[in-house]
């Protein structure tokens, strides 16, 4: 993550009025925090490298409206993040609504994968064998 601040021009479902977020990397992880600027919340945890956990996932789709919202002109300019829900002993990632960020301007949108049956809470765990 190189952006320190992003803006959701239309907010996120459930939080339409919250637009500005600070991005803070969590060192040594593929996670970052999104902290609301100018209010107490919401704050989110995001996975900045979805492919590391979901290698079989195809490229996320960005519909015309989402492209317009973040002024996307080239796929090379886009970052895809997943919102992570953390509970004691359990973490899940939202694959249905990835956050797509235009790194050229810091604009972001929750890009709904309308025609795909992707889960909103896919388990997010690293499988490790003992002794490795």
């Amino acid at each position: 993550v190189k952006l320190s601040r992003i803006c959701f021009p239309v907010g996120l479902p459930g939080f339409p009025g919250r637009r500005e977020f600070a991005v803070k990397e969590l060192k040594g992880t593929l996670l970052a925090e999104l902290k609301s600027i100018g209010s107490d919340g919401p704050n989110f945890v995001i996975l900045t490298d979805p492919a590391a956990f979901f290698p079989s996932l195809q490229t996320f789709r960005l519909d015309d409206t989402a492209q317009e919202i973040i002024q996307a002109s080239s796929a090379d300019e886009l970052l895809t993040w997943l919102i992570v829900t953390v509970r004691p002993g359990k973490a899940t990632a939202n694959l249905l609504g990835p956050v797509v960020v235009n790194k050229m301007n810091g604009l972001a949108v929750q890009a709904v994968q309308k025609d795909l049956e992707l889960p909103v809470a896919a388990p997010l765990m690293v499988q490790r064998d003992d002794g490795c």
Binding site: P13, F15, L30, E68, N94, K114
Partner: protein
């Protein structure tokens, strides 16, 4: 024009503030929607699923409870 098929009782969400509910008719109804590109149109259940997931994600206490291994770089 965006075309969505809906059944009675199902909804369409236009932006964050407008909900259209199919209250009558039989079987599948096709609706054509033209809106500015900046206005997002969702199937109601998709919007609700995202709003619920976002609310759950925003409620997490602190990151000390992140299970070991989650988000760690592969060795």
């Amino acid at each position: 024009m965006l075309v969505l098929s809906r059944r009675p009782g199902e909804t369409i969400r236009i932006g964050d503030d407008i909900v259209i509910t199919i209250v009558g008719g039989r079987g599948s109804i096709k609706l054509g929607i033209e809106a500015p590109l900046s206005v997002r149109v969702f199937r109601g259940e998709v919007y609700d699923a995202l709003a619920k997931a976002n609310s759950a994600a925003a409620e997490q206490p602190d990151l000390s409870v992140v299970p070991d291994g989650v988000g760690a770089h592969e060795p």
